[in-house]
Symmetry: D2
């Protein structure tokens, strides 16, 4: 057990991280600094203060990071139309780098030499926390209790609580959910329980943020989203801060049954896992962002972005937000967005998001050229012949030389 003086703990105020706080004090004989962040998970963070105090913690950090989360992490990610493995909107992945950054800042402020988190040794989150921590503070010691201790069953955990006088109602009195969940302004996720059978359909009462499509209103909801440099800045012409944009879209989206997802994904640590996700606002933004890009982005820029996206998504999923390669790609993505301005009209209805209109002062859509009607010479159809002939030349030569494609 290497020597640790002070450790910053990502502390939710719940039972597990309370046990961790105590365990750190006992095991490492070190000071513990707690850090609790509001990133839109939908639970009060202030109660964490009293709980931390009760554990004898002296340095307690509680931050509202919602605006920073959406502005500096969620929005930049959506500029790339980021999806992991064709489906997942990376709701958990994108919150980790922010939490890590703040933990390291607090470690630097408080003179802590270690950080600790409550992620297990099987998941992606440990990787995301720790890669970021090492990248931002290379000498930091990382403590991952779930990989170290032997409290690996609910019974042992409860016994530990009793032994150490940790009030079990730290769990908030709520019946323990059968699912492992994670929530922030972008999404809520579910894993474990019956989801461990990929053939089993998720139960309706699992979902917390959205009504079922069946229960959604019978009439569609229309929204107009205004984009500036690739980010949503107004809804129905009302300007809003980044976090308010996402909150608003979550509300409207969830009410229309939008944003549910049920997938099996490939974890960075090498296994497949089943997850269910609700991402109402994100699902709307993704669709609308593609639509505003469709009229404002140059074709080759759009295709280049599409070809880079899977790599970019992989970086975020695997925990490399704080890396020079993500930064390099981000520079290119951001550069492309200076023209991504305008308005998109979407229709939400019983679980689906459809784009029904888009307009922009930066539009490259040219009615005069695209029209099926007479274009008054804007486009010379004869050009197409040469275009095709030279594009075909290499294949004609090959066929003449006897190459056969059939």
């Amino acid at each position: 057990m290497s020597s640790v003086k002070k450790v910053v703990l990502a502390y939710s105020g719940g039972l597990d991280t309370s046990v961790i706080a105590k365990w750190l004090q006992e095991t490492y004989r070190c000071e513990v600094v707690t850090f609790t962040a509001d990133i839109g998970q939908g639970e009060e963070v202030e109660p964490a203060r009293a709980k931390a105090k009760a554990l004898g913690i002296e340095e307690i950090y509680i931050d509202d990071l919602r605006e920073e989360f959406v502005r500096d992490f969620v929005f930049p990610m959506f500029r790339a139309n980021t999806i992991y493995e064709g489906e997942y909107l990376l709701g958990t992945s994108i919150a980790r780098p922010l939490i890590t950054k703040r933990m390291i800042e607090i470690a630097n402020e408080t003179g802590a030499d270690a950080i600790a988190h409550g992620a297990t040794g099987k998941g992606n989150d440990q990787v995301r926390f720790e890669l970021g921590a090492y990248a931002l503070k290379p000498g930091v010691k990382v403590i991952a209790p779930w990989r170290e201790w032997d409290l690996n069953s609910r019974e042992k955990l409860m016994a530990y609580c009793e032994e150490h006088n940790i009030p079990v109602d730290f769990s908030g009195g709520k019946k323990k959910s059968p699912y492992s969940m994670d929530a922030n302004l972008l999404h809520i996720s579910y894993e474990g329980g019956i989801l461990e059978d990929p053939w089993a359909e998720a139960e309706e009462d699992m979902w917390r943020w959205s009504v079922s499509p069946e229960s959604a209103p019978d009439e569609a909801t229309y929204l107009e989203l205004t984009f500036e440099r690739g980010d949503v800045v107004a809804i129905n012409d009302e300007a809003m801060s980044p976090a308010t944009v996402l909150e608003t879209l979550n509300k409207v989206g969830g009410a229309n049954g939008v944003g549910r997802l049920d997938i099996v994904e490939n974890r960075y640590v090498g296994m497949k896992s089943r997850g269910c996700y609700e991402t109402p606002g994100g699902s709307i933004i993704l669709k609308a962002h593609r639509a505003i890009e469709s009229i404002t982005l140059d074709r080759e820029v759009a295709h280049l972005k599409d070809s880079l996206m899977p790599k970019y998504a992989e970086m975020i999923y695997n925990g490399y937000w704080w890396s020079p390669e993500r930064k390099m790609l981000q520079t290119a993505i951001d550069e492309s967005q200076c023209v991504v301005n305008g308005k998109v009209r979407v229709k939400l209805y019983k679980g689906s998001v459809s784009v029904v209109g888009r307009q922009s002062d930066d539009s490259l859509f040219d009615e005069k050229i695209a029209t099926f009607e007479d274009d008054a010479g804007a486009y010379d159809q004869k050009d197409a012949e040469g275009f095709i002939k030279l594009n075909a030349l290499r294949m004609r030569i090959a066929a003449n030389k006897g190459r056969n494609l059939l």
Copy 2:
């Protein structure tokens, strides 16, 4: 006007291609062979025979290509989860190479030295027809009347009909649609008309294959799709031919309002254009195929496929199906599919497709390892520490040398 002896015309039996047949005879003083294919466009093809005869055509080809279309073109494309520009399922693009291949075969059989098509000089289809034709028969002469003649208004066309005794009811007596449409077993598309304003919402009565989500049944429909080597081979355990699979899914999907799409896309000839598409069956297959891959494909194979997909989609969209580079990519894609076997359960409801279960004898999902419960040592959580530390090493070294990522 270069000399042409005999030309194979892609002939729908409609007014436009009938005019073309006559115009070819007049302009090139050559024999015309008509070729009409059933690729699932939903119209009888046999009537084209009488119409062609009426135009004095002697060599008339009418083929049912539905099975070949789905088996050799649609299914191979879906193995790659192909989407163009994040949205478009390439319904028009994928039919062109089949038609071209058959035209060239007919040209070879009949000794024709030219082919002709009814695509305009502004669109992608001319490119797809002609690139394929040159690749398969390098010396072929291609005639694209819309790029050559001066019949560029409905009035002139009608005048030509009258002058040449072409019965105007060749148009089938149907009121001319305000949209330019194209249909085959995979989709039906709409362009032109009010769609030329990207802000205008498509009118409900434009859509032909699907009911509106609002009119779809209030109860969800569940389907089980069985995959073999990446292709759907059975629905609800009933084995079906490729074309029957697609027909069946179109019917069920359309009845549930599934598969509508409204986008602005980038044409290969350089302009943006608005298109609306209905692809009910394809939308279901795409979603289900990703799901069966999610449990059967290795992670890195899946990611490699994702990174290649945009390029592959571009090849098909731009008309390079008959090219050595598409063939090269296809080899790799097909190789990956030998393990993509199993069953996916999907839910269709008022416009949306959701995956709710997947199972496979080739599944790589390992419950014993993925579980949140005790895994009996299947996975050693301590391995994660070394994994993370070495993955972080390059960034720790950089940070130690003063590199700053913030």
Copy 3:
């Protein structure tokens, strides 16, 4: 013949472009502005003034663009380690966008509505000139005489000269080379003549910039190149301007037989062509740039750059320097170069360039960790086990499920 008022001609002062100047005056009845640039082709540009005057030209532009060429075109390209098709250093390609940009500036200054160039209809250069021109001045008319006129043999050209009193010694009295050549500060190229047989070895007396390796000095020459942000800023500790750097390296490299290349390349217009190139300075910079990056760039940034390079090279080769996609990629490339500072020692000897040393204050090479000797705990070898085990996990699961890789 569309109406043209004034045309800017890329004018070398040689016979061909003099004929073009006259032909433009005659054919288009328009004013001609000549533009002659020194981009390091190694010939005086001032004589072009008198020749242009003799042709009756009134607006004559002669510019020394050597510094701009290297600073804003050659160096940015080398930051990406750009090579086309594994071999070609893009010497011709990279000069075209600069000439185009200047032509368009002159067109804007002089109120010209057209530009003209002397490139043939078979090559890449026409594409590079014209794509750039359309991108920078979308309404410009482009005149490419070699695609229009019928002076397609040397005899006809000579007859035209005689008829129009163009002094044949405009060719400079030099015996017409059997090769088609192009030169600028980055390279000199040869095409045509016996090179049209890809099996024939180039004759020794073709090469103009470099001695043969056999004739090079028997003793090696060592150089130290200093890089700042990816560009060479000093040679043997002597600070130099970009153009001077390249001139100097051309001289030393050429004297050591460095930089000859003989390839068959794929032109954008669809054919293969044989070309020989001399790029002494460029060959040295490319090698040294990779070496300075090898100690200063993060691994994943380096690999990302490598994966983007072929696409970037294609853009430049095909003529898309002036495009939003090239600009987007350049942003990312340039971002990566802020740490590419330091010094590289190279050895030139009879045709080869070898790197023998590299050092940098921004080096990420960590002797303490890399050493085969005792590293005092800088690296924990035990971490490797977990690293490998988790990286292997997906393949172990697959093998356990019966997948066979042999």
Copy 4:
């Protein structure tokens, strides 16, 4: 210490692996099977038999794998023109998967449940051995003594030898080289010693396979290499087996000073390391393979291969030869090579390899079209105008809408 019954050891017959054999017997109390392979490292393998016997080994495997090595590993890799980080020909990386495969075969034949190797915990080789082992035999136990034991200095190793009666002349009586070396038919590598300073030039007497360029013959050597499906099958028209091809080229190349390389590379485990390499035959094959591809491969196939190559090289370098993603890529690469047939003429001279001619019955080089002379209408220069205009269209529209690229 988990229980091991029998372990297959990669045994060179040298001192280190002899110590490992003894240490395995002592530490794991298990049977040891030795496996010694001739992969062209240039040392007798038969002497390993007596040494193994002296250590009490009963199951001794000695195999000549040279042909398999070149045929199934080196040649497939060269089909992709594989280079890691722009320079390294992967000589060490490509030998590991073969050794691993054979070790696993022997483990299966002898009923061994473990393998052991002599690679250190800092390098790439441990990763390559172990990833392959886990992929081919998922339940195998891997023992990496250098990560486990405390014999981490030469002194301790010697003490161990004395204590256990291991004759020190197992080291072959040769003076211990200051470098860590690895050799096989493809290359010999050097690390450590003064190379740990990246600024220090390698000493001339380090290099073992090649003469210095300065000492190479004053007259160039010309070779003709014949390719079939991408592999060299004959030299100067003499048919040869794969291993003989490589041996022959190593000899001729080395005699001409060809194939030396001095780089800093990025290891998979996260550090940078300096390495020097001699790859005479490989350097010739790489150059010649690109040349034969230049006349036989379609342009887009060649570019697709170039874009995939860095990823493919990374797979091999990182140890993923035995992976489904490498297999998937290989399928595509191999598919492309069926036309890569013909002959290349190269010139070797004092350290450099130059291509001077290439010919093929599958050549796509079309003299009639490429010629600067009159092409008798094979290519219509007027096609270029439409080709350029449509390629420029998107940029013209953008410029018309006010986009500025400068």
